[in-house]
Subunit: 442 residues, 2 copies
């Protein structure tokens, strides 16, 4: 029986732990909070739960050394440290996080030691790579050339629980969601490089319909251009990765950005109500109402969605902020978390949608789509299942010797994505492909 | 001195009448309401104001016979009748309306009689044609090939008067604006024909930034594909014409369409409040609130923009409908007209924006834009100036013998659009062109 060390027992770990135990692995699950880890393993005979502070390098090294493979679900900043121990002890590693520079730098050493450091093995990154590469590789085998690639992903409430004006609930840190709104983005549109500065992010918006899932706003997701290399799409004219949200999100966030609600610098808040805090942010002029000042700063009407949404969160109301100092971002995150939380039994939904335009040398063209729509159920939230099951499957593939690649790896290789997508489909997480022939171009 | 008969003295006629009088034409201005015509001519010695019912064919014939040219600003359904009299009496005709089948059928007869029936000589249609053709013809002269054409137009409040949640005020009939929301649309996107059914119109939305004017929602405007012929754009891959609105419009209108608010069938309203009328429309179930029923029908949250906007108009309130029967469309038009009207001194704004992608035989590519942003001022609303001044200039060109074309004509000919655009620019209605070189495609 192989031994897997699972670092982190947060919101997404449950499905991974259950799947690995069902596939005859021995698990050691660690958390900063022992009870969290215990709740996950649930007294299973082949699993132990430990309290672990990752600052305790000696203990971490010992635990890594005892394992055949480590799955790291802790914040990505810790991955390089964990990987260092893996190198030292000759242990494979799986994460669901983007390959940061520190991780990429370990590629040669991992290869030398015959190790696999499989990263980006979650949903986004993860299933997005796998489902895209399955289409891209199949297209190349058929002699096709991908000229456009658009990819959309979002974690949202299922349709029946969109009971708030944001059409959103938090399945991960509100702070993270809000921080992501401060990014710029880069993509390629018809061979033209588009650079979107942060203050324009939510204006670079369009709506799309995802069959079987509904209509969504899309705004661009960071650097899409790097995927030309990652996916082997040299010569592609359009490459765009976008985030899906329900209608109204982008207009609200654009206006809120203008008010400075995503700033993370602390501001004085002692004794202030939410409205007073916001009034200071809006620099209310003499004789001006808070609402008027906020509307002026946002460049919207006093009666408009961005203002109504602010009021709905209570941020124009009398409730005390309750802190001596707080940043606008943290105040907003607090109010959103209070009001936009999944209640027991409410389902979340994951939507992942790729759209390819493919040209063949005889002039024929096709639109190929790949679509994943997964809702939460008794087996876990859609977010936890789609993020952690790929990591579990990846760990299993490595331990069963099915991965020949060595070094720092993403799941863009058929030896990984083919069995992983097949197993995910068996678990109800199916990326469905459709092909639509188009008329020839010009 | 040439004699021009101006039929119709509505909201847009003022700038036309003043321009023609300043250019030494004698005018006869008619209206169903004499005072309206009198207000327009303002006692000018070279102008007379008459009351005229277009049903009075004899009188209409006599007035047409007395003129050298007719400008018809009445509803387009009357144009064919007017054109019939023009044929009989050998009189030229100018309209700002689309060429309907009845008008197109008169082409051969007008040619035979040496007459010009110049139509679509307003803003949209009108300036859109002229500014597009100037770019298209210049591009062809330079050996370029237009591969994409996107055109956007909207009449909106100037930024400082967007003081309502719609970002909209009515400069023409609310009924017309709402009826336009019942259309489907057709366009060409990368050589793929897109047919948008009416119920999807407001979901086929994206945002664009028009430099100097702001950010707008765009939804497709009827049949764009016919413009391949109108503009001589054989081989174009993308042709899209869209309507510009401020953020939130499309989501609201999409949801309202689901509720049936654009239906024009009369429904019983006697003794009903607005909320009771809407409740019947939403088919409130036992124990359900009106708001909940409306949200269910619209498939939105009770706290969401489409509901908030409905409430803002008073349509969820106690005010009596005040009619025995009324259609949802007319009730909505009434409430919107009440609350979304220009007050004295408030400026409107016209935005017309074309974006062309042009390819040259050596592989070079350019993005060419043409942009008109015009705000209302003491000389008239932007809508009235941009709709009626082209018709005035067109009439003048014909009467000065500058138009050689005969028959049913659109302003896509250089002999019309060149002098017309030059005069419009002199009047502050300038279509500004920009060229941006792009990297080669693949």
């Amino acid at each position: 029986m192989t031994k897997i060390l699972v670092l982190g027992a947060g919101m997404v770990a449950g499905p991974l732990v259950r799947w690995l135990l069902a596939h005859d692995h021995h698990l050691t699950v660690t958390s900063l909070v022992r009870e969290e880890a215990e709740a996950l393993v649930g007294g299973h005979p082949e699993a132990e739960a430990l309290e672990l502070d990752l600052g305790d390098q000696q203990r971490l090294a010992r635990l890594v050394g005892d394992a055949d493979l480590v799955v790291s679900l802790v914040p990505y900043l810790f991955h390089a440290r964990v990987a260092g121990h893996c190198l030292q002890h000759g242990v494979h590693l799986v994460t669901a996080s983007y390959v940061a520079a520190e991780m990429a730098a370990l590629d040669a050493q991992a290869r030398e030691r015959g190790l696999v450091f499989l990263n980006e093995m979650g949903l986004d990154p993860g299933i997005d790579h796998m489902s895209a590469m399955r289409v891209i590789d199949a297209t190349k085998r058929r002699g096709g050339h991908v000229v456009e690639f658009r990819s959309y992903c979002g974690g949202l409430p299922a349709p029946e629980v969109r009971d708030n004006p944001f059409g959103y609930k938090f399945s991960w840190s509100p702070r993270g969601v809000l921080m992501a709104g401060r990014n710029g983005a880069t993509y390629l549109q018809d061979a033209d490089l588009r650079r979107v500065p942060p203050e324009r992010l939510f204006r670079d918006m369009h709506m799309i319909e995802v069959p079987g899932a509904g209509d969504f706003e899309v705004y661009p997701n960071r650097d899409s251009v790097s995927y030309v290399d990652t996916y082997g799409l040299a010569g592609v004219r359009t490459i765009f990765r976008g985030t899906l949200r329900n209608p109204g999100w982008c207009d609200t966030f654009h206006a809120w950005g203008r008010l400075g609600l995503f700033d993370d610098a602390e501001r004085p808040a002692a004794g202030l109500s939410c409205a007073e805090y916001v009034a200071a942010l809006a620099e209310v002029a003499p004789g001006e109402t808070v609402r008027a000042a906020v509307a002026r700063k946002m460049a919207v009407a006093e009666d408009s969605l961005p203002i109504w949404n602010l009021a709905w969160l209570g941020l124009l109301g009398d409730e005390p902020v309750g802190e001596a100092t707080i940043s606008p971002l943290d105040l907003l995150a607090w109010r959103m978390q209070e009001k936009l939380t999944y209640r027991s039994g409410e389902r979340d939904m994951i939507v992942l949608f790729h759209r390819f335009l493919v040209e063949f040398s005889d002039g024929a063209r096709e639109e190929i789509t790949s679509r994943l729509v997964a809702c939460g159920d008794a087996a876990g939230t859609a977010m936890s299942r789609t993020v952690s099951l790929p990591a579990a499957i990846g760990a299993d593939l490595i331990l069963r010797g099915r991965v020949r690649a060595r070094g720092v790896v993403r799941p863009v290789l058929p030896e990984i994505y083919e069995p992983a997508l097949a197993e995910l489909a068996r678990l109800g997480i199916e990326c469905k492909e459709d092909v639509r022939p188009l008329g020839p171009g010009t």
